[in-house]
Symmetry: D2
Subunit: 286 residues, 4 copies
Amino acid sequence: MSIELVHDSYGKSAIRLVKVSRHGRRHEVRDLTIDVRLEGAFERAHTEGDNSMILPTDTMKNTVYALAKDHTMDPPEHFALALGEHFLGAAPAATRVHIAMETKPWNRITIGGRGHDHSFSGAGGARRIARISAGRGQQVAIEAGIEGLEVLKSSGSGFDGFLSDRYTTLPQTSERILATSISARWRYVARSESFGPTWHAVRQFLLETFAEHPSRSVQHTLHAMGAAILSQFAEIEEIHLTMPNRHHLLVDLSPFGQSNDDEIWVATDAPYGLIEATLRRADATR
Amino acid sequence: MSIELVHDSYGKSAIRLVKVSRHGRRHEVRDLTIDVRLEGAFERAHTEGDNSMILPTDTMKNTVYALAKDHTMDPPEHFALALGEHFLGAAPAATRVHIAMETKPWNRITIGGRGHDHSFSGAGGARRIARISAGRGQQVAIEAGIEGLEVLKSSGSGFDGFLSDRYTTLPQTSERILATSISARWRYVARSESFGPTWHAVRQFLLETFAEHPSRSVQHTLHAMGAAILSQFAEIEEIHLTMPNRHHLLVDLSPFGQSNDDEIWVATDAPYGLIEATLRRADATR
Amino acid sequence: MSIELVHDSYGKSAIRLVKVSRHGRRHEVRDLTIDVRLEGAFERAHTEGDNSMILPTDTMKNTVYALAKDHTMDPPEHFALALGEHFLGAAPAATRVHIAMETKPWNRITIGGRGHDHSFSGAGGARRIARISAGRGQQVAIEAGIEGLEVLKSSGSGFDGFLSDRYTTLPQTSERILATSISARWRYVARSESFGPTWHAVRQFLLETFAEHPSRSVQHTLHAMGAAILSQFAEIEEIHLTMPNRHHLLVDLSPFGQSNDDEIWVATDAPYGLIEATLRRADATR
Amino acid sequence: MSIELVHDSYGKSAIRLVKVSRHGRRHEVRDLTIDVRLEGAFERAHTEGDNSMILPTDTMKNTVYALAKDHTMDPPEHFALALGEHFLGAAPAATRVHIAMETKPWNRITIGGRGHDHSFSGAGGARRIARISAGRGQQVAIEAGIEGLEVLKSSGSGFDGFLSDRYTTLPQTSERILATSISARWRYVARSESFGPTWHAVRQFLLETFAEHPSRSVQHTLHAMGAAILSQFAEIEEIHLTMPNRHHLLVDLSPFGQSNDDEIWVATDAPYGLIEATLRRADATR
């Protein structure tokens, strides 16, 4: 019997990096968690235990810290591109490198209306994602994303006219709570100097579209959000959205002689609906 | 041999409540997770399986929803007081009731500088805690708190002059990253109409004190923060603070021929220092 | 500008099902967490808010419980196949259905060497995965897997002869702790009556190969484990393995005048190496 | 205004220690997570930033590793006692030291009925706890415990005859699923050479009592379990048990024309009942 190594990759995950940049008394803090992953001609490592083409994952970690000294993390996409280029050089057997970064946001602590020079509080909320994937002699794929963008609307969302069968007990509704935690990933057409402003603008467009769209389903709103991004940002050619439906159930207060006009709800974690889709500009290059 | 039931309690935890209040087109959302717990003369339930004095925890859950219909959650402390009073009445065997509430903050989505009427995004960051503990014929203890207030300062923090022994390898330092996730609980002197504004003011004082205090240790800063609260807020008689020391380690870049002037750090999760203390106004009633 | 819906899917996740089967006084317990997901011609739901082809995810949940009444969960793969077939019938717009199941194992509590009739303790450790993916008029893909199989070997593992560059500081080693949490997924050639015995046999082969393989790297051992499964089980045509390298670092005790002959280690969570590969029988059908 | 430092403590948490002991080719692995905490006269550190009496938490970590070299972790209680004694000596300002240890269990991988010399798999399930608390010139409190012991019984559990009010909708039942994750802590009368065998015997008694007790409530079974331990083990003087009620809800299949004779259940996470009690031998010393 013959066995084929169909696919393999290896790398270092969860490299924790905090960089403090000083501009006189004013400090900037960048807080990143970084994954490095290589694909390539590593078959003999698997089959023979031959490590001669394996750049250790410990070296990947060291390299991230060493390059962090000389590169800016603003925007993180540029640092990811620099890391990708470096690792293709450092590991001749690699045919492709993937870099993924999650930025934890910190806000300056505000005192008397002014941001403190070197003290910060955790911003919480959604995290910023930056990813690149680079092969040899190919265009680099640059992706950005947002993870854990929690939203809820208490009106403007219904779900009716759906397919029913003998197992359907869900009532039609024209008014419900719609709550989700948005995960988005989008691919840029090209390298840009404005990844930072674009990220913040995408975040705002996602929020506004969610808020204002008259929702007939999660699918309906998800598509509206994705389409809004592709319509607005020529530099983005594809977007993937994942939106779990965090169901809120109306409490039956009638046993206690009370009405409940869409007022008292139970938030539930499980089970949850899970909706995802990828939208692409029809003229995109791939 | 004789066995004594030294202590017991029971209740319902993680009751998830979302209340939507409508003021015309303008909605308010309150998102709470509530725990109810009773102590009292429940020994025969333990020893004999006699449930006649046991108010079911399912009833506790129902009661939270039913009372939520008729009470405001703003501030949550008042709703906690109402629940406490109710359960002492509903469970004659109970001698003490504990109510704990955690509020998940939602912000209005802002469009064109104006908060949307019924669409919200998760605020992330620290959560607000409200707790009451009430016995029969005793003063009610009212506590508030903040959980998960992440802060970091990249200057103004040292640690030196400490006790050394043969197992000490830590170098003295006058400059390090100080990072923690503050957990605070404080006890109010009395019921008040301003629990909400006080909570926000306490949060701001904790942040400001953390930012501006010239720290010689976590203990030093923790005490300064607690003392600032007790000095500033006459309505608070005791405060407990817990501050894990989320160590940031300076990366040794010398193998790569690079210097590292407090610039490149590794954030670590484990192990972590854990510092906690309770401060009380000397004239407090207990 | 034209926007294309490249891909979409929807479904219900985390459906929690416990089935108690009674054989006289002897009970069997099956504890499953189930995900249902559909792909197909749902574009108008996205673009128009037309729900007429959408089977609600609430109906999916109901269906899982209703069919659970009449089907056995032993093996879970058969229940997954039944669910898949049902949903292709219930949702005419669906072109593909995915069912995933995770089984939480419970052991009988043993008293005097005999398993109790109706009392169980959590088995902990690895969870069993079963997944099917079915299209219309196509062969059904049946996958099984194991998640969270933690293993550690304190000898028989080295890592040397690797590629070095200016950022490499890792020493060569012929003896280290190798620890990981194995995640495996394998695809069956065909439907079988022996999915249960095969699963347990695969688990045992993974453990034995990990234990006895003289490891020169995680890649080396991962490949040996995958090859062992494909060699041993003709009913399996492809296997994917993911193995994080949970690094254990030797503590430097020399400052305390102590030696450390591979005896005292720090277990670390982050960063971690991440190694994954897919192996396929060369004569596999796809 | 005068502010009093009512209570304070500090220490190091989550010290991760793996010790490999070699007996020829046969290895033993001990995998511990350790917390060290001191209380005492540390007021000037808080108020003045005077660190001269502060033993750094980094030194605590070093000390755990250094002492681990020369001490056995079998049983962990003895290592905890040694650490406690050491830290009272090393930190003259400390009046009390607390050591807590959690042991992660590893089983030998079995091949052909024989345990492998140096390869192990994660045992999962409940973790073993050992804790000591020592003051100067006082008896040391030695506690052991078990965390996360999951159990479920599908018969022999009811809940009826309870207190009802206008908010009670729960039906009486003489047959339900009772499921929980037991957390137990018990205090030993004195130091012993048999902490290990006792721990395993306590675990077995907890399981057997849970299995065989005709339960009228969680309180009823919890008390029976605690009483069984105190009756059986003269070396234990007090036990604390915490048992969340992981509710399983019977699915209503009647809309689908099906009966459900205690067969199809939904496992739920929230909300959950929470029952806890402390039992003490009436002749215990405190």
